[in-house]
Symmetry: C2
Subunit: 140 residues, 2 copies
DNA sequence: TCTTGACCCTGTAGCAGCTACAGGCCTTAG
DNA sequence: CTAAGGCCTGTAGCTGCTACAGGGTCAAGA
């Protein structure tokens, strides 16, 4: 890599902790901009790419969809965002997370109930199976 | 439907609360057995199909993957399961659910922290964006 | 008798968000 | 000279469905 500051895709991958294939995928779907290429057509990235990719990675880990991230980046790119907009997106997202937590808690309770019936012995009867086959029970 | 007890796929769908296309999909991937066909090649289901499909639906709602369900059904079909086996599968599944809950809680905390910094004003500065771009922060 | 509508059929393509090849080029070290 | 490691493009696969396209079948109504 002759360019000052130039990162190969492999280096970018290591520094951002994002898979090489995923980086190329992000480029294809327009989340990451197409970088310059060196003489041998290798991708050459700069510090701005690293920053942006890290942003994407962090947002993904926080559960934002790629579409939501595209929305955030559009705002950032256009310098057009207001705090209120971002806040709204974040709060919406928070509501969804809370809903998911509730769902999982319900699920956990239901399964614990079933497992509690379970003798754990080598018998061919099983309360879990019975419960799942029991048409009187309504799960959800 | 001339057969006694014979259900069309539409009726099965209504009674099991599973989509028609999903039923056909389950047949294709081997979760549901191929049913008899009437003279016009329509699928004809019996009470056993309804029972099995309901089992699948309930298990799905409890978050079991189709692969796990296939495993459960194999045990049931072979009358080879012991309570201990099923219990283990269930407990494994419970552990995973708990892990997911913890993940989501962490996520929620992180996002709440970010949102709390947010003024909600029309200013072009935003604590959320800053946090996501801040390379010193480690999310996950 | 014709037609309309509600069913059913098969097969394929699409969704998210990647991941994993296949088949090739380039560069450098031994 | 060759082998290893990186990079390239392009396509197919994963889960668990869903949504067609393009057709057949059947009963009831005009």
């Amino acid at each position: 890599m002759k360019q000052k500051d130039g990162l190969s895709i492999g280096e970018l991958s290591k520094r951002s902790d994002v898979n090489i294939e995923t980086i190329r995928y992000y480029e294809k779907i327009g989340v990451m901009p197409a970088p310059d290429r060196s003489a041998n057509r290798y991708r050459v990235y700069g510090a701005d790419h690293l920053k942006r990719l890290s942003f994407v990675r962090r947002s993904r880990r926080l559960g934002f969809s790629l579409d939501e991230i595209r929305g955030l980046l559009r705002l950032v790119d256009g310098h057009a965002y207001t705090c209120a907009q971002v806040r709204e997106l974040t709060l919406n997202h928070l509501t969804e997370i809370q809903r998911k937590i509730e769902d999982l808690k319900w699920l956990k309770r239901a399964m614990e109930e079933m497992a509690a019936q379970c003798s754990g012995e080598r018998a061919p009867e099983c309360a879990v199976i019975d419960a799942l086959f029991d048409t009187r029970r309504q799960f959800g």
